[in-house]
C-alpha cells in the first residue's frame, strides 16, 4: 500500500510567489539536496531533511532564467541557462553567478537534463540535443532544427536505458501531439504521432513517463480526467519515418477535468502514479496516489490552499507548491499484490448464483479486451444521444451527482443516485467509491446526515468493496446498522478480519428489541419452526450418529456415555439459541472471508457469554446439518458444514481457557467432546467399510470387462 506521510514546508522564502509556480525542482548528487529554480531569477539549493536552504544564487537584474538549474552528476557542478542562450556552470562555493563559467550558445535552449550515470544533455527548442561536453568544446557550433514550424516542445524527459542515454520529448502542433525518442549515442531520432480518439475533445494536460526494458511508458493525464498510457518503443522496430501510437485508458476519472487549476501526474513506480488536481470541480485540490495495476485509489491528501498544478517526484519525496510555500510530501509505495488484498475467497463453489463483486480486470483496463472497448463505445453513443436530445453542455453524470451530494437534500440525492445508477456500467466502479466517499464525507461533517437508503442502493450494485470505500463499514458499525453490515459482509470480498469481528460483536450484543425493527435479509436462515423440529426429533438419535451404532464398536468405555447421549443434543437441538434475525446476521459472519491468523487475536476480545452463545448457535447449526444425509442446511446460501466446523474450532482455539471456566459452557463442551469421539469411531468404521466397497467395485469392473478377445465391427466415417 502506498501512503503519504505528513507534509512539511521548506522554510525560507515564499519563492518568487508568482501564481504560475516554479520553473523546476531537480535532484543533485547528494540524495538529500535539491535545486529549486524560481520562475524569475533565483536558484536555491535545499537540504530537505533539515528543511533549510544551503545556498542561493541569482542572475543579474534584467536577465531571466529560462530553464531549471540541474546538477551535473559527474562533476557535482550546477548548470543553468538564462536568457535562452547563456549557459552558466558553477560550484557550491561560487557566490556570484555573474562571475562563473559562461558559454553563449548559438540556439535557444529548451532544457538541460541531467540524471545519475550520464552526461548532462542540452535540448534545444529546435529539437536537437547535444551532450554537454561536446557543446562546451564548441559553444557556437551550428545546431540543426528538427521540428517543423510552429511545433512546440511541451514536455521532455531523459532516461538512461542500459547505459544509453535516451531523451524523449513531446511536441504539439495544431492540436496534434508527436513523440520523439532520441538515442544520444547513436543520434538516432524516431518520431511518433500520438493518436487520440477523434471524438473526444480532450486536451492532454500533463505527461509523465517511466521506462522498462524495451518501452517507454508514457502516461498522459487528459482534460477528461482520465489517465492514458502509450507505449513508445525505445528501439524503433522499423525504419518507417512517421509511426503512430495509440493510447489506451489506464485510469478513469482521477481528477475533474473542469478544475480551474492545472492538473498533473507523476509516475512513482511501475504500479503507482501520483495525481495532483481536484477530484471534483468544486472540491479542493488533492494529491492522490493511484495504483494503476488494480486501479485503486491508494491514498489522498487535500491541499486546501491550492497548488500551482506542478508536481515533482524524486525518490520518496513529492515536491509541490502548496499555497505559496514549497511543500515536500514524503511518500512510500509498497509492492502491491492481489493476494494481499484478498482473504479466503467466499463461496467459491457457489455456481454464480450471485454476480461476484466486480474486480477490476487489469487486462481490460489496458484496453486489450474487446468488451471494454465495446462498453466504451456504447457509452459514447449514449452520451452522444443524450447531448442530441438535451443540447446541454455535457456534464458527466457522476460529477453532477457528486455536486448534489455536497449540498442537496437526502431526497434529492436519492433521486439523482437512482438516475445515475440507471446509466451505470460495471467498469466505472471507481466512481461508485467516490460517491460513497462523498456521502460518508458529508455524514462526517453533518452528524445528522446518514443517507442510509442511498448507501443501500450503492451496495446492491455488487460493485463495491471494502478497499473502495473504507469508511462505510466503520460508519455502519458506529450507527449499529446491522442491515448495512449484513449487506457489506455479503457483498464485500475484502472485509478485514478486525471488522468481521467487530460485526460479530455487534451481532451478538445488539438487543433483541432493536433487532426487531431492523430489516435483516433472512434468506440464509431456514425456518427453524418448532413444528418441523418435532417431526425430526424422533428420528434424530440414529441419524445423529451417521448410522454408527456404538454396540458394534470396540470402544467399550465410551459405550455407556454414548448411550446416554441422545437426549442431550436432541433437547438442545430442539430450539435455536438465537432469534431468527440474529441467526441471519451470524450466518453472514460465517460466510465471510477470513484468514485464521488475522482473525484469532480479534476473537479473543469477545466477551465470554457471547462466545458461549455463538458456540451454542454453531452447535445448533451443526446438529441441523447432521439431520440430513447431504449434511447441508436448507435455505438460500446457508452456512456450510465446513464453515461451521471451522468457526467452532476458531472460537475454541481463541477462547478455550475462558470457555473452560464458564459453568454454562460445560455442557456444551461435553457435547462437543462426545461428538468428536463418536465422529472418530464413525470414521474408523467408514475406513473398514471402504475396503469392502473397493472389493465390490472390483467385482463390478470385472463385469464391465469385455474379456480378453473379441471380434467387433467398426465403421469409420
Amino acid at each position: 500500500m502506498a501512503a503519504l506521510e505528513e507534509e512539511f514546508t521548506l522554510s525560507a522564502v515564499t519563492l518568487g510567489a508568482r501564481p504560475d509556480g516554479l520553473l523546476g525542482v531537480e535532484q543533485t548528487d547528494r540524495t538529500d539536496h535539491f535545486l529549486v529554480t524560481d520562475r524569475s531569477r533565483t536558484v536555491i539549493l535545499y537540504k530537505v531533511s533539515d528543511q533549510k536552504p544551503l545556498g542561493s544564487w541569482s542572475v543579474k537584474q534584467g536577465q531571466i532564467i529560462t530553464c531549471p538549474a540541474v546538477c551535473n552528476f559527474q562533476t557535482g557542478e550546477h548548470i543553468v541557462v538564462h536568457d535562452d542562450k547563456v549557459l552558466r556552470i558553477w560550484n557550491n562555493e561560487d557566490v556570484n553567478l555573474d562571475k562563473v563559467f559562461k558559454a553563449t550558445l548559438s540556439a535557444e535552449v529548451h532544457r538541460v537534463h541531467s540524471v545519475q550515470g550520464a552526461e548532462p544533455v542540452v535540448l534545444f527548442r529546435g529539437g536537437a540535443a547535444r551532450g554537454l561536453e561536446a557543446l562546451l568544446a564548441e559553444p557556437q557550433q551550428k545546431i540543426e532544427t528538427v521540428l517543423s514550424d510552429g511545433e512546440v516542445i511541451k514536455w521532455t524527459k531523459f532516461f538512461v536505458v542500459f547505459r544509453h542515454p535516451v531523451i524523449v520529448f513531446i511536441t504539439e502542433k495544431d492540436g496534434n501531439h508527436f513523440a520523439y525518442v532520441q538515442m544520444l549515442h547513436s543520434r538516432n531520432l524516431s518520431k511518433y504521432t500520438l493518436l487520440l480518439e477523434q471524438e473526444e475533445k480532450s486536451v492532454t494536460r500533463s505527461f509523465t513517463a517511466s521506462v522498462d526494458r524495451k518501452f517507454i511508458s508514457l502516461m498522459t493525464l487528459s482534460s477528461d480526467g482520465c489517465v492514458y498510457e502509450t507505449l513508445i518503443p525505445i528501439y524503433p522496430s522499423d525504419t518507417e519515418k512517421n509511426q503512430r501510437l495509440v493510447r489506451s485508458p489506464l485510469l478513469k476519472a482521477v481528477v475533474s477535468g473542469a478544475a480551474p487549476n492545472g492538473v498533473t501526474l507523476a509516475a512513482l513506480d511501475p504500479d503507482h502514479v501520483a495525481v495532483l488536481g481536484a477530484p471534483l470541480p468544486s472540491s479542493k485540490e488533492c494529491l492522490s496516489i493511484w495504483n494503476t495495476k488494480f486501479q485503486t485509489l491508494q491514498t489522498s491528501k487535500e491541499l486546501p490552499q491550492g497548488t500551482s498544478g506542478q508536481l515533482w517526484c524524486y525518490g520518496e519525496h513529492l515536491f509541490l507548491l502548496h499555497g505559496k510555500c514549497l511543500t515536500v510530501v514524503p511518500c512510500r509505495c509498497g509492492a502491491s499484490s492481489l493476494a494481499g488484498a484478498l482473504g479466503k475467497l467466499r463461496r467459491a463453489q457457489d455456481p454464480g448464483s450471485q454476480t461476484m463483486p466486480h474486480f477490476v480486470n487489469w487486462e481490460v483496463a489496458q484496453g486489450c479486451e474487446p468488451g471494454a472497448q465495446k462498453s466504451e463505445q456504447l457509452r459514447r453513443i449514449l452520451r452522444r444521444k443524450k447531448s442530441e436530445v438535451s443540447l446541454q453542455p455535457e456534464v458527466p453524470a457522476s460529477e453532477q451527482l457528486l455536486s448534489t451530494i455536497k449540498n442537496g437534500s437526502e431526497k434529492h440525492i436519492e433521486v439523482e443516485l437512482r438516475k445515475f445508477l440507471a446509466k451505470w456500467t460495471p467498469d466505472s466502479h471507481a466512481v461508485l467509491g467516490d460517491v460513497v466517499a462523498a456521502l460518508l464525507g458529508r455524514g462526517e461533517a453533518e452528524p445528522s446526515f446518514y443517507p442510509r437508503s442511498c448507501l443501500m442502493q450503492l451496495l446492491q450494485t455488487h460493485a463495491l468493496s471494502h478497499s473502495l470505500c473504507p469508511g462505510l463499514m466503520d460508519t455502519a458499525l458506529a450507527k449499529a446498522d446491522v442491515q448495512m453490515l449484513q449487506l457489506c459482509l455479503r457483498h464485500f470480498p475484502d472485509v478485514p478480519e478486525s471488522l468481521t469481528c467487530a460485526c460479530l460483536k455487534i451481532f451478538l450484543s445488539i438487543g433483541d428489541d432493536s433487532l426487531q425493527g431492523a430489516h435483516v435479509s433472512m434468506e440464509s436462515v431456514c425456518e427453524h419452526s418448532s413444528s418441523e423440529q418435532d417431526e425430526s426429533t424422533e428420528e434424530q438419535p440414529e441419524i445423529l450418529r451417521n448410522g454408527f451404532s456404538p454396540g458394534d464398536s470396540n470402544c467399550g468405555t465410551c459405550e455407556q456415555e454414548l448411550r446416554e447421549e441422545p437426549q442431550g443434543p436432541a433437547a438442545e437441538a430442539a430450539s435455536c439459541p438465537v432469534t431468527p434475525k440474529r441467526a441471519a446476521l451470524l450466518n453472514g459472519i460465517l460466510g465471510s472471508a477470513y484468514s485464521e491468523t488475522f482473525l484469532l487475536p480479534h476473537l479473543k476480545d469477545i466477551p465470554a457469554q457471547h462466545v458461549t452463545l455463538f458456540l451454542q448457535y454453531l452447535y445448533f447449526l451443526y446438529l441441523k446439518c447432521s439431520e440430513n444425509a447431504t449434511m447441508t442446511l436448507p435455505g438460500m446460501h446457508p452456512p456450510t458444514l465446513s464453515q461451521i466446523m471451522d468457526w467452532i474450532c476458531l472460537l475454541l482455539d481463541a477462547n478455550f481457557t475462558v470457555v473452560l471456566m464458564i459453568p454454562e459452557a460445560k455442557r456444551l463442551l461435553i457435547n462437543l467432546y462426545k461428538f468428536v469421539k463418536s465422529q472418530i469411531s464413525v470414521y474408523s468404521e467408514l475406513n473398514k467399510i471402504e475396503v469392502s466397497f473397493r472389493e465390490l467395485q472390483k467385482l463390478n469392473q470385472e463385469k464391465n470387462n469385455r474379456g480378453l478377445y473379441s471380434i467387433e465391427v467398426l465403421e469409420l466415417f
Binding site: 509492492a335 470414521y683 467408514l686 475406513n687 473379441s710 465391427v713 467398426l714 466415417f717
Partner: protein, 690 residues
C-alpha cells in the same frame, strides 16, 4: 452383407499380458535436454525432451543388472551402477554397453558425478564411498573415503566440489573430498510420529551451495541440516511412509521429493514476506500422479519428472517456468515403450508378442457372423496360444519378428540373434532352431522379413545392415550394407517394400537411407529432419516411403522419383490440423490397404487413423475427430465435412494395429487397469478421518 468402404471386422486383442517394468532412476541432462530412465529390469531408455518426449534410444535389460543409480557425466556420457557391484558406461551412438567395471565394494546403492563432471562417486553396500576418475574412454579408480558402518544409500556433491554428503542408515555423513575423511555425522531421528521405528533409512540427500544438506528418509521426513555445524535446522513431515527421492533445481530455488504414497511434493524457496530478502523453503505443491512408490525424481529447468513402481514416467511442467502456454505445458504420462513389441503374420493370422525374456505366439480366432458398426460378433473359434518361447540366458530380448508367411521367427538379445523355423501340421506346430548363425550377427536392433518371407534384414548395432537369404531350414548371407563412412549410428527402424526391391533404414538422428536390394547399393537418402523418425513403411506398387516423425509430421517420399510426393508437399503447404499435432504419443506403426492405394493406416497409443489421400485435408476449422456416424445428415453435409483423416479412438491404449486383409483389422490393446492389477498393492491411505 456388403461391407462398406470404411467398415472392418476388428480382432480386438487384450491378451498381450505385458507389464512395463517399474522405473528405478531418472537422470536429466540439461545440455542435450535428454532424460535417461532406468527400469527395474535393467533397461535404460533415453527420452529426447526436445523432440516431443520421444523415447529415441534404449538399452536392453539384464537379469543380474538391477540399476540403482544413473547419472550423466562429462557432458553427455551416461553411467549406471547397480546391485551387481558394477559401474557401466553406455555407448549412446552404437547403443550398447561400452564396458562394465567392478567397484569391489559389494552392491552399489548410489552414484553421482562431480559438479565438474570429471569424477564419479559411488556408495557401496560395505559402507565405502569410492571416487573414480573419468578418463576419455574409461573410468579409473582413484581412492576410497573413510569407510562407514553401513551401506551408503545416497550421495550428493557440494556444487563447489569440496564436500559431499552421504546418506546411510540412521545418519548422514559429510566428507571432505580432499582428505576423504568424514567431518560430520548427523544422526537422523528414528522416531516416527512418536513410535520408534526400527531404522531410519536416508533415501536421498542434496547438498546446496550455501552448505545446507537436505535429506529425505524412511520416516517420511524432509530435513534441512547445516553442514558447517552438523545440526538440524528444519524438519518437514510430508508423508506417512518413506520419502524415497529428492532432486534439486540447478538454481537451487526449488526441489522436489517423491514419497512411497505416490505423492510428489514441490518445495520452493520463497521470500518470507513480499520484497524481503529473507527466504525460506516452503512446501508449495503436492502432485498425486502416481499410485505407487515414487522411486525417483528429477528437476529440469521447466518441469518436475517422476517415476516409480507404477511404471509411469510423469513429466509435470512448472507452469510458472513455461513461457508459452502451448501443448508443451501439458502434463505428460509415458507408460508404454515407443517401439513395437508385436509383429504379425497376415497369412496365418498369427501374432507374436515380445516380452523381456520370452516370446508368445497366438493364433487369432474367427467368426462367420456379420453385423453393424459396434457389434461384437459371436466367435466360431477362439484365439489360441500356440507357443511360449523362453530365451536362454539373462539378457532381455531387444527385438523380434515373425515372417509374413508365419514359418520363421527371429529375435535378438544383446549378444546373439536367434532364428527359428516353424512347421505346421494340422493343429500341431513344431519348432526348429536354425543353428550356426554367422559370427557377425551378434546383436540386432531391428529384424525384418521380406513380404515373401525369403529374405531377412537385420540392423546390427554397428550401423550395418545384413541381408540374409532364407532357404528351407537354412540360410545364406547375401550382403552387408556398411554404414556411411564416419558414422557409427545404429539403425533402429527398417522397412522393406512389398516387392522386395527397396529397403529403408533410419537411425535416431540422421535421415532415412533407402537401399536398392536388387543391385545391393544405396539408392538415396531422404533429407534429415529435425525430429527423430518414429515409424517407417513403404507402400505397395507406388513404392512411396511414408515416414512419421516425433513432432507428428508425416511425409511421403517417392523412392523411384527420389523426391517428396505431390500429396506430401500439399500437406506441408497446408499444415496438419492443430489437434493432430497436439497428440502426445508417437505414431508407432504404418501400414497400407492392399486394394486402396490412396489409404495410409497409422496409429499411436490412443488412436488409429486412415488417411485417405483423395480427400481434402482438414483445416483448423474442421472437426478432426468425428466420432458420430452421420446417420441423419444429408449427403451434401457429409461430403462437405468429409476430410482425409478418419480417426478412431475406440481402442486404447493401442499397442499395435495392422490390416490382416482388406476387410479385417487386428488391434492389440493393453488396458491400464490390467497392468495395475499385476502391480503390488499400493500403500493404503485413509480416506476418512484424516
Amino acid at each position: 452383407m456388403n461391407l462398406r468402404m470404411g467398415e472392418f471386422k476388428v480382432h480386438r486383442v487384450r491378451f498381450f499380458n505385458y507389464v512395463p517394468p517399474g522405473i528405478r532412476c531418472v537422470a536429466y541432462n540439461n545440455q542435450s535436454n535428454r532424460l535417461a530412465v532406468s527400469r527395474t529390469d535393467g533397461t535404460v531408455e533415453i527420452y529426447n525432451l526436445s523432440a516431443n518426449y520421444f523415447q529415441e534410444k534404449f538399452f536392453p535389460g539384464h537379469e543380474s543388472r538391477a540399476t540403482e543409480a544413473l547419472c550423466w557425466a562429462e557432458g553427455q556420457r551416461l553411467f549406471s551402477a547397480g546391485l551387481n557391484g558394477e559401474i557401466l558406461e553406455y555407448d549412446l551412438q552404437a547403443l550398447n554397453i561400452k564396458y562394465a567395471m567392478d567397484a569391489f565394494g559389494g552392491p552399489i546403492w548410489s552414484m553421482i558425478a562431480s559438479p565438474s563432471g570429471s569424477q564419479l562417486l559411488v556408495g557401496c553396500e560395505d559402507g565405502s564411498v569410492k571416487l573414480f576418475q573419468i578418463t576419455p574412454d574409461k573410468i579409473q579408480f582413484e581412492r576410497n573415503f573413510d569407510r562407514q558402518k553401513s551401506r551408503i544409500l545416497s550421495l550428493s556433491w557440494h556444487p563447489s566440489g569440496t564436500h559431499i554428503a552421504a546418506g546411510s542408515i540412521d545418519y548422514i555423513s559429510v566428507f571432505d573430498v580432499k582428505s576423504g575423511s568424514a567431518i560430520h555425522k548427523m544422526i537422523v531421528d528414528r522416531q516416527y510420529m512418536g513410535v520408534s521405528k526400527r531404522k531410519c533409512i536416508v533415501w536421498g540427500v542434496a547438498f546446496l551451495s550455501d552448505g545446507t544438506v537436505i535429506s529425505v528418509d524412511s520416516a517420511g521426513k524432509v530435513q534441512f541440516w547445516d553442514s558447517a555445524t552438523g545440526t538440524l535446522v528444519k524438519s518437514h513431515l510430508v508423508a506417512n511412509a518413506d520419502v524415497q527421492s529428492i532432486a534439486v533445481a540447478d538454481q537451487e530455488d526449488s526441489f522436489v521429493v517423491g514419497t512411497a504414497e505416490g505423492t510428489v511434493f514441490h518445495f520452493q524457496l520463497v521470500s518470507v514476506t513480499s520484497n524481503s530478502t529473507e527466504k525460506q523453503w516452503v512446501r508449495t505443491k503436492p502432485f498425486q500422479h502416481h499410485t505407487h512408490d515414487v522411486r525417483t525424481v528429477a528437476h529440469s529447468p521447466t518441469a518436475l519428472i517422476s517415476g516409480g513402481t507404477d511404471t509411469h514416467l510423469v513429466i509435470r511442467p512448472l507452469m510458472e517456468k513455461v513461457e508459452v502456454k502451448n501443448y508443451d505445458a501439458a502434463l505428460r504420462k509415458i507408460t508404454f515403450p515407443h517401439r513395437r513389441l508385436i509383429s504379425c503374420s497376415k497369412k496365418r493370422q498369427l501374432l507374436l508378442f515380445q516380452f523381456a525374456h520370452h516370446l508368445e505366439l497366438w493364433r487369432l480366432g474367427s467368426t462367420v457372423a456379420t453385423g453393424k458398426n459396434g457389434d461384437t460378433l459371436p466367435l466360431s473359434k477362439n484365439a489360441d496360444h500356440l507357443l511360449h518361447l523362453k530365451t536362454k540366458g539373462p539378457e532381455n530380448i531387444i527385438c523380434s519378428s515373425i515372417s509374413p508367411c508365419g514359418s520363421w521367427i527371429a529375435y535378438s538379445t544383446a549378444s546373439r540373434v536367434f532364428l527359428y523355423r516353424l512347421n505346421y501340421e494340422h493343429d500341431n506346430i513344431s519348432l526348429q532352431r536354425v543353428s550356426k548363425m554367422p559370427a557377425f550377427l551378434r546383436s540386432a536392433l531391428q529384424i525384418l522379413f521380406s513380404e515373401d518371407s525369403a529374405k531377412l534384414f537385420v540392423a546390427s548395432n554397428q550401423g550395418s545392415l545384413h541381408i540374409i537369404q532364407l532357404l528351407e531350414g537354412s540360410f545364406k548371407h547375401l550382403h552387408t550394407f556398411q554404414p556411411q563412412s564416419g558414422t557409427v549410428e545404429a539403425m533402429c527402424l527398417l522397412a522393406v517394400s512389398p516387392d522386395g526391391n527397396w529397403l529403408a533404414a533410419s537411425g535416431t538422428s540422421a535421415g532415412v537411407h533407402v537401399y536398392n536390394v536388387k543391385h545391393l547399393k544405396l539408392h538415396c537418402t531422404v533429407p534429415a529432419y529435425n525430429f527423430p523418425v518414429t515409424a517407417l513403411a513403404i507402400a505397395p506398387n507406388t513404392n512411396n516411403l511414408v515416414i512419421a516423425h516425433s513432432d507428428q509430421q508425416v511425409f511421403e517420399y517417392s523412392i523411384p522419383d527420389k523426391q517428396y510426393t505431390e500429396w506430401s508437399r500439399n500437406v506441408q503447404k497446408q499444415g496438419f490440423h492443430h489437434l493432430w499435432l497436439q497428440r502426445d504419443t508417437p505414431i508407432t506403426h504404418i501400414s497400407f490397404h492392399p486394394k486402396r492405394p490412396m489409404h495410409i493406416l497409422l496409429h499411436d497409443a490412443y488412436m488409429f487413423c486412415i488417411i485417405d489421400k483423395s480427400l481434402p485435408l482438414p483445416n483448423d476449422k474442421t472437426v478432426l475427430y468425428n466420432p458420430l456416424p452421420p446417420t441423419n445428415e444429408s449427403d451434401v453435409f457429409r461430403r462437405r465435412t468429409a476430410h482425409a483423416f478418419k480417426i478412431s479412438k475406440i481402442y486404447k491404449p493401442l499397442l499395435f494395429m495392422d490390416l490382416l486383409d482388406e476387410r479385417t483389422l487386428v488391434a492389440v490393446e493393453r488396458p491400464l487397469d490390467d497392468i495395475i492389477a499385476q502391480l503390488p498393492p499400493p500403500i493404503k491411505k485413509k480416506k476418512f478421518g484424516t
